[in-house]
């Protein structure tokens, strides 16, 4: 399958819209489009096969399933993996497992785009500072809303469109070359990568003892074959009951402490 110029540009647009901060309900809209699960279907639609897009997108989503982007520098870009990755995988006609292996390095490239726009946007902040000194709100709004979008659009959509248009042939050849053990090795790597997102996420919520719950979730899923939704519900209920008990114990201490304060006051 080859990708036409129009298709390549549309896919570039999808990538742009999935960058944090495009004027969708920021983060809610853009992070949804950023997901390979979602972008995959749309790319598939653009390429004329939404069903295949859904399958490839769902596969590419896997290594990013627990990806968490908090503040600073993201380690990889699910948005690029989901758009360019899906497009090239569909063009090369590879299996979902191979699509994962292709999408992961593509995701890493995406961080370049992130660094660029996060740097260029600094200029606009300074422009807004000046607008503030002038008390010119219109100008401030213009520099916040319009300018960065143009930059991000150029920085995002163009490389992706080019990648789609010129990349598909190259990638098909590469995939050809990798048949057999090399591709299998890429699949092994693809199987390990979700560990990063999960571990980063775990680090973010890490508290003493939290690993026990993690292992519990793991054991329940492995040995009982439970999917994520029932485990989430069970865990939510048990967590509530458990923390409620802890809160009950601590209430007592607070009650105790305050009553002692009272004693002190009386003496």
């Amino acid at each position: 399958m080859s990708i036409s110029i129009i298709q390549a540009i549309l896919i570039g647009l999808v990538y742009y819209l999935g960058i944090n901060g495009t004027p969708w309900t920021t983060l809610l809209g853009s992070t949804i489009l950023q997901k390979p699960l979602v972008a995959g279907v749309i790319v598939g639609f653009i390429l004329g096969d939404p069903v295949q897009g859904a399958i490839i997108g769902a596969a590419i989503q896997l290594p990013f399933i627990a990806y968490i982007s908090a503040g600073g520098a993201p380690p990889t870009d699910p948005g690029l993996a989901g758009t360019l990755g899906t497009a090239l995988a569909m063009a090369a006609g590879v299996k979902p497992e191979a699509a994962i292996a292709m999408a992961v390095p593509i995701g890493l490239l995406g961080t370049i785009i992130w660094v660029l726009h996060m740097t260029i946007d600094v200029f606009f902040v300074h422009a807004i500072d000046r607008a503030a000194d002038e008390g010119n709100m219109k100008k401030a709004v213009f520099y916040h809303v319009a300018m960065p979008q143009i930059v991000t659009l150029l920085l995002g959509a163009i490389p992706v469109a080019l990648g789609c248009y010129f990349g598909s042939g190259v990638v098909t050849n590469i995939i050809e070359l990798l048949q057999g053990r090399p591709l299998q090795t890429l699949e092994v790597i693809g199987g390990l990568l979700p560990a990063i997102g999960i571990a980063m996420n775990l680090r973010a919520i890490s508290k003493p003892g939290i690993l026990m719950w993690y292992v519990l979730g793991f054991i329940l899923a492995v040995y009982l074959g439970l999917q994520t939704m029932p485990i989430a519900i069970i865990a939510g209920i048990v967590a509530y009951l458990y923390t409620d008990l802890i809160a009950k114990t601590e209430e007592k201490t607070v009650a105790l402490d305050s009553s002692e304060d009272l004693d002190d006051d009386f003496i």
Partner: protein
Amino acid sequence: MEEQRVKLSKKDVLRAFWKWTFFSHSNYNYERLQASGVLQSMSHIPEKLYPGDKEEQKKFMQRHMSFYNTEPHFGGIINGMVLAMEEERANGASIDDDAINSIKTGLMGPIAGIGDTLWQGTLQPIALAVGISIAAGGNVIGALVFALIMIGVMLPIGYFMYMKGYTTGKTGVEAILSGGKMKQIIQAASIMGATVLGSLTANYVTAKSTMNISVGSSTLALQTDILDKLLLGGVPLGITLLTLYLLKNKKMKSTTVMLILVIIGLICGATGILG
């Protein structure tokens, strides 16, 4: 009590909420992150609070260009609060720049932590897992289901938080944050999140050995005959815990850790230890 001269209408507050919701990250940058997002979300406010008073309007604009970064949905409670403080200030309350600024910088961190845990750490992986399970078989509805879950949960939260911040004001928000209930919610969400991450590890991290061991005449499959008897999925679990160890205890950067995993995968894949 002094009579109130200027008052923000319900519509003013709503507009600020929506602008914040749509444009908070529009000019996200390394220097001050969401700073200009805060200002732009309140771009219609100075004229309301200080009609015609150019000087105060300028000060307002300068005041809100300071470094700001929080999780936008939960963090809306801060923005709402700031709006309420600005209103009081315009009505003569003695709230100086420092007060407003320290509220913003003091709360943005903790609330980002709470928000990211609840949203990206807990809700999003669950919704993704549901979406993937639908989509993997070629069902285009999967993406839609994911999107609807996210919007259906997060938009109401964002709205509620912003309005709560505006109506409760400074002391109210601090009371909420320091109360035992909030602590319990975070704790419970962390537990739920960790458990869900365990199930994600089980379902999505894959590493199976294809090695065989020969003992005398008989051949044993390392994975099914030994490792699976010890602990099903022990290898993926071990790899994820190793990753956590490198990230957390060894304080490695996530890209470094990714590189290490790629190398492990390369070696184990090429030699056929995993496959």
